[in-house]
Symmetry: C2
Subunit: 259 residues, 2 copies
């Protein structure tokens, strides 16, 4: 039972470019952080690593040079109407499995992974020089990306550290973005407390907690968007170890009331 949880930014990871061996670079940065006689001296069983999406996409080459994109008429019209980049709109539409909403300058799509998010998770910031022509796509398989990072850490540090790949998503009904999990390795993204008694002894019928999302949000508080710090260790939270895929945390279209 957690009573203190810390999110600690792991610094030392340099600029990431396509083709980089990110799992090894992360394992090295973590090893250096542990060796630097800070208070993270050794990894613990209640540690989780959160890796923000952009460096994963960059390393894996999940990027598009907008100068190579020829926008469709739909994209051109939507962009003209709402002061958006038609080439970016085109990429969003191409990557979508389904368009959920496209209105008021906003495009919400369902990606092939099953995520429902603005612009299918495709964005322009934080990618390279402020030249405006490179966008990142979501990693093709964020769970597998998390698996590889976890494996590299296990090989380098002999510790099975669960890994979350996170990204910033908006939500309906509330302004602002929060970080959520888009890939997991070694932990179950949902904590299912149904059937367990609450503090008053009442059996909870419907409490399923999205612990991986809360871990992603806690990590983001230690990272921030304007600093170049893409990975954080979150220590002390309660989570269930296990092999799982993020899809288990995503509501299928058939049962979703907001698709």
């Amino acid at each position: 039972m957690a009573d203190r949880v810390e999110a600690i930014a792991i610094t030392g990871l340099g600029e990431i470019v396509p083709g980089d061996d990110l799992p090894t670079l992360i394992a090295d940065a973590l090893a250096d952080a542990l060796a630097a006689a800070s208070d993270i001296e050794t990894l613990r069983d209640d540690d989780v690593l959160v890796v923000t999406q952009k460096i994963v996409s960059k390393a894996e080459g999940a990027i598009v040079d907008l100068t190579t994109v020829e926008p469709s008429a739909v994209a051109i019209e939507f962009a003209r109407r709402y002061d958006r980049d038609a080439r970016q709109v085109e990429v969003v539409l191409r990557e979508a499995k389904r368009v959920v909403r496209m209105a008021n300058g906003v495009i919400i799509t369902e990606t092939q992974h099953g995520f429902v998010c603005a612009n299918g998770g495709i964005d322009a910031s934080n990618v390279g020089p402020a030249s405006g022509s490179i966008v990142t796509l979501l990693p093709r398989d964020p769970d597998a990306s998390a698996d590889r990072i976890r494996a590299a850490i296990r090989a380098r540090l002999d510790h099975d550290l669960p890994v979350i790949v996170s990204d910033s998503f908006g939500r309906p009904w509330r302004f602002g973005i929060v970080d959520v999990a888009i890939g997991v390795s070694g932990l179950i993204p949902l904590d299912d407390l149904r059937g367990e008694p609450d503090a008053d002894g009442r059996i909870m019928r419907s409490t399923v907690r999205a612990v991986a999302d809360e871990l992603a949000s806690a990590a983001e508080l230690a990272l921030g968007k304007t600093a170049n710090r893409p990975i954080a260790l979150v220590r002390g939270a309660s989570f269930r170890r296990g092999e799982a895929r993020i899809r288990g945390a995503l509501m299928p279209a058939e049962t979703d009331l907001f698709r």
Copy 2:
């Protein structure tokens, strides 16, 4: 700029019942925690207190005894069809400003505060003996509840500690609940980074971060739903101080694509 953020459960708060002076009880518990020679010795400028909704509702008497509720025909039919308590369904409908979805056993409503959430935030667990007849409503004015707690702490400890009242909400498209802010005092719930450069020097056009929600989620990791620990100090995050109300973080129905 944060690089380590901690969420620390504050223990020592006893059972809360209607009529309790919660702000004073919280100020006392916090004072005791500081005095107990733990590592929270003094409050800092980057501290925020997160108080979970249920104790606020209980203290303020925002509860309903279901044995006093006569369900309507709509409630009876919905409950019969989906194995729910008709009296609780009735309370949900009565408290709703608008019903957003009512299908498949799920009721999503917009509350008078402007929140959109399952059952209007009304639930049955964690309230009292496992007798099944007391439900909590959301506090009538969670910002004001946060104000009173902040004032009591300022009076007791001579420190202006921002306060968030939090609750657990589900989301569309993803299973599980996460904690979000339903009331604030002393901090701005959104961090607006538009116009600021990101790590590559690119000016961000649309990054508004729901920092109060992420603080609520981080706090929940240290509290947990099965333990009787309803308040947490979150230390080290970056947030903007100021007088704000949570409504500024809520999307009005007119601009919301999912109402």
